[in-house]
């Protein structure tokens, strides 16, 4: 069993009227099965309403399954005795950086998690320093979060999770409210954590560009995982991705169109350099 494992995971949002009768049922997760290997960088892609945020909240036991089972680090999240252990192992970063920072000073916010866990003060200081260092925010430790940029705030939020020393971090569209440079900054910080500390990452997004360097990509649509594989495999199925209302990165799209037009540059091209090399291979001798 991997660090996060789901078996026939179902979640239904049930809307009731004033008398408590069921008005409507909306199935957000519809029988998910997956198994995340510890240390992997998993990207979860899906357009709005595909159920990816609901999934994120399950991994942190903020929502409990309506059916099926989810294990985090071998613990069943629906068992109320496991909630605190699950939240310790699976940290969560949300979309809006302002709404998840509790402290008025960066370091106090990073210390909030360990305080809740009952860690002794001396140890909290060590953890705070280390967490801030690993996201490159140590310089701002005594600043007010209000004066930071979006990307910096989001890195503080990540440090706030790191200080609880989780095995796994779930990021629910962490870049949706950031500008392109902030987006890059957060993505790089999380990749570094994944590489250097071996923390499992579940990166939830609808920006295709962000999943290029992931180990595994899950594509979600209507509460199901409809595609699963390495980024290159996923991106080579351009038509299928479009069916699930996802935009393919421009480079991949260009390579796809070239292939369609009869130039064998190879499907699933992810970066500019790759496409350039492929073109040079084809035409380089003549140029």
């Amino acid at each position: 069993m991997g660090i996060v494992k789901a078996s026939r995971l179902v979640h239904e949002y049930i809307r009731r009227d004033e008398e408590g009768n069921v008005e409507s049922i909306q199935t957000a997760l519809d029988g998910l099965d997956f198994d995340v290997k510890a240390g992997d960088f998993i990207a979860v892609l899906g357009h709005n309403g595909s159920g990816k945020s609901t999934l994120a909240k399950h991994i942190n036991a903020l929502l409990l399954p309506s059916g099926g089972t989810l294990w985090v680090d071998g613990k069943d999240t629906s068992d109320s005795g496991n909630v605190s252990a699950v939240r310790r192992q699976a940290g969560m970063v949300f979309q809006n950086p302002d709404n998840q920072i509790i402290g008025s000073v960066v370091e106090e916010d990073v210390g909030f998690g360990p305080e809740n866990l009952g860690i002794p003060s001396e140890e909290i200081w060590i953890r705070v320093e280390e967490s801030l260092k690993s996201v490159g925010m140590l310089r701002y430790r005594s600043h007010s979060p209000n004066r930071l940029s979006g990307g910096q705030k989001q890195r503080v939020a990540i440090a706030g999770i790191l200080s609880m020393e989780p095995k796994c971090i779930v990021l629910d569209e962490p870049t949706a409210m950031l500008d392109p440079s902030g987006r890059q900054e957060v993505l790089e910080a999380v990749h570094a954590l994944n590489r250097q500390k071996g923390i499992t990452v579940l990166w939830i997004t609808h920006y295709m560009e962000e999943v290029v360097h992931a180990d595994v990509v899950y594509v979600m649509d209507q509460g199901r995982i409809v595609m699963q594989g390495k980024p290159r495999e996923i991106f080579s199925r351009v038509e299928e991705l479009r069916e699930h209302r996802l935009d393919v990165p421009q480079i991949t799209l260009l390579a796809h169109e070239l292939n369609q037009a009869g130039l064998a540059v190879g499907e699933g091209t992810l970066t500019r350099e790759e496409l350039k090399d492929a073109l040079v291979r084809l035409y380089g001798s003549r140029a």
Binding site: G91, M92, N99, I102, P114, E115, S121, S142
Partner: protein
């Protein structure tokens, strides 16, 4: 105008005042307020002025930061001093016009009241400018801990306060944003009668509340995700411990208050 409120705006600096235990600063602010309403005569005012100036100097917070808070209460200042000026009965009449009269006592009262209010705002803003809101609520929490015995949820109150303080600047920014958005759609916040202006606030307040509730929901979830389950079993990153300087500060405060009281008799 809303931007001028300085309460809850921490000014980071490294000063003696910043390093004092928040309980000392809370007590200090309380005693300072008491002294403002106790003092009589010029000598008392002078002592308070010296004390205030010393605190400002020690805090290393630019004076302009504290004075900014005053702009929000200019109307109140004018109002109270005018009232005191005209409505204080006294023997030494300086000026009389019909039923309106200004007396020597009225002038003195107005001046003292003006000083009181200005000093009150400036003095208490030192506390909030030189203490992180978290330290402040920690101080309150610890100072009020005995109330837990009579089932006052001290921790919950302190947590609510610190969150409120954290979100004040964010909500102020949001008010600005919504105001601009509504003005771009033709809303008018500045003209018309008072009733009309109050009515015009509705398109400002509704979106503000909606967004505040959304933020509260998000924040509650983020706190839960970080294993927050209330005060029980929590440790502190910065536990409050009195240092030598804190005891010294208490002594100075006691001496100051005694001084103000002694000068009353003069």
């Amino acid at each position: 105008m809303i931007r001028d409120i300085t309460i809850g705006q921490y000014y980071p600096a490294d000063s003696v005042i910043h390093r004092l235990d928040p309980r000392v600063k809370l007590m200090g602010a309380l005693l300072y307020m008491v002294s403002l309403f106790l003092f009589q005569g010029l000598a008392g005012l002078l002592l308070i002025t010296v004390f205030l100036a010393a605190c400002i100097g020690l805090s290393k917070v630019p004076l302009s930061y504290m004075v900014r808070g005053l702009r929000a209460i200019v109307a109140l200042l004018v109002f109270t001093s005018v009232f005191h000026l005209f409505l204080t009965p006294g023997e030494h009449v300086l000026f009389r016009f019909g039923i309106v009269s200004i007396t020597m006592e009225g002038v003195a009262n107005a001046v003292f009241m003006l000083f009181r209010l200005i000093y009150l705002i400036v003095g208490t803003s030192i506390m909030t400018l030189a203490t992180t809101p978290n330290a402040l609520t920690d101080g309150l929490e610890k100072a009020l801990r005995p109330l837990e015995k009579i089932r006052v949820p001290v921790h919950a109150i302190a947590m609510m306060m610190s969150i409120a303080l954290r979100f004040i600047p964010i909500l102020i920014e949001e008010v600005d944003l919504i105001m601009k958005a509504q003005m771009a759609r033709g809303a008018d916040f500045e003209n018309g009668s008072l009733i009309k202006r109050v009515k015009n606030m509705i398109p400002l307040l509704v979106p503000l509340f909606v967004s505040a509730f959304r933020r509260a929901d998000d924040l509650a979830m983020a706190m839960e995700a970080r294993c927050y389950v209330g005060g029980a079993g929590r440790t502190k990153m910065k536990p409050l411990r009195y240092a030598k300087r804190d005891y010294v500060a208490y002594l100075i405060l006691a001496a100051y208050l005694a001084g103000v009281i002694a000068l009353r008799a003069v």
